[in-house]
Symmetry: C2
Subunit: 231 residues, 2 copies
DNA sequence: TTAATATTGTCGCAAATTGAGACAATAAGT
DNA sequence: ACTTATTGTCTCAATTTGCGACAATATTAA
């Protein structure tokens, strides 16, 4: 990793959404010996598309290819330029400052959100961090720099896109019940939805394929299983 | 202008929308002696917010402060890296390549759209261009690099935002008629709207202030004038 | 002075969409 | 066989939307 290989001044950060325990969660990294928490991010190689750089980083962090990904904002304020923070991280990792001085420069960060199936992910820290873990949105640690703003804007954008893009099913396994899908929508919107109305609305879109019944093992009528009808 | 003063690899491009003659138009620059057409763009100073850099550039290009501005996408593909084009532009302007070699590097461009009142603008070319002029969206010249894609995505985003943000009135003078506002919406959406329904919908939002009648001078009932009720 | 014309503000009504409750069906557990 | 929890679907009212109609009015023509 050096200034020959990566574009200066440009980074990306990713808000990786997963759904588990009826809650929306995101991946957070914790840096070695610093107590600093941050979004998974990275840099762009000279000969690499910005989008590909993000996919490459997400593959390392989650083990997944073909992730649902949306770019939502480039954060470019001067206020986010805090070289002492990067210095702290590098020193805590025994990195030579001279060789990596480009990392102490100002960065504009292009932010993406990803939607993945929680069960498929193997969260994997990078060389500078000792953990990469799920945190519920309402139980986030203090994030460094403006990463809390990035999360807030990611969630807002996800809400805005909820109807226009068919976003909900990317957070579930291939097969899921209508109730599970409704819980996803409720978690994203932060409000309860009426069961009958939700079911009617989703089915009217004609994008779900209904499968044979699931045997839930519970003491009540078993729900249908659905899959997302890819176009 | 040198690499000391500006961030490397980062540019912005702006799609400046105006409304005139019942059509949506945007500002296009034409570079000296090259036949190249491009969106107004620029670079970010080391100690300058990205958003401020765009406002600074737009001020130069239009003479306006306090422009309605939305960032919508960062274009970062490798395919848009065409150093020979920038070289052509610089040579046509007698610029020394060595001094400005940072301009021949790869750039990621953060794209914004602006909505302005056509009448208020004095389009002003920069040092490298001999014109900065309005072009209707359906009569654009061939734009360099991926600027046609940028325009297409700007229009798409504008459409998507049309209801959520109260976008229409930023393209009109302070006082305007309901018919004028409807024409703006129709130009953005690319379709005719029903008059009665449109008026009912807009008025129900409660964001317009009705003024005394306009005396249109035409042979029919004079319409009300409205202004946008600032919050 | 009066009639004709074009456009405006508003209304009415049917169609479509949404919100909320109700009911039968059903997979266990008792 | 009865109970319980939950599901799929339906119905009905409330709301929103699409579309045409009507009176009002500023100007021009007769």
């Amino acid at each position: 990793m050096n200034s020959k290989g990566y574009l200066k001044h440009i980074a990306y950060d990713s808000v990786v959404f997963g759904f588990s325990g009826e809650k929306l969660k995101i991946l957070i990294m914790k840096y070695h010996n610093t107590g600093l928490f941050a979004l998974p991010g990275g840099f762009v190689k000279f000969d690499e598309d910005l989008n590909d750089a993000v996919r490459r980083g997400l593959k390392e962090r989650t083990g997944l290819d073909n992730i649902y990904l949306e770019q939502f904002y480039a954060f470019g304020s001067v206020a986010r330029y805090k070289p002492e923070i990067m210095e702290t991280i590098m020193k805590a990792n025994g990195q030579a400052l001279e060789e990596h001085s480009w990392l102490l420069d100002r960065f504009i960060s292009v932010a993406y959100y990803a939607l993945i199936n929680y069960e498929d992910v193997v969260p994997t820290p990078d060389a500078l961090s000792d953990s990469c873990d799920w945190y519920a949105l309402d139980e986030l640690p203090n994030l460094m720099l403006d990463h809390a703003d990035i999360v807030a804007k990611a969630l807002q954008t996800l809400r805005d896109n909820l109807e226009r893009k068919l976003v909900g099913m990317n957070l579930l396994p291939t097969l899921f019940t209508m109730k599970e899908l409704q819980k996803v929508y409720e978690a994203i919107l932060g409000e309860k939805l009426h069961r009958g109305t939700f079911q009617r609305k989703i089915l009217s879109l004609g994008i779900l394929k209904r499968h044979e019944k699931q045997f839930s093992g519970a003491a009540h009528k078993a729900p249908f299983l659905y899959s997302f009808e890819q176009k």
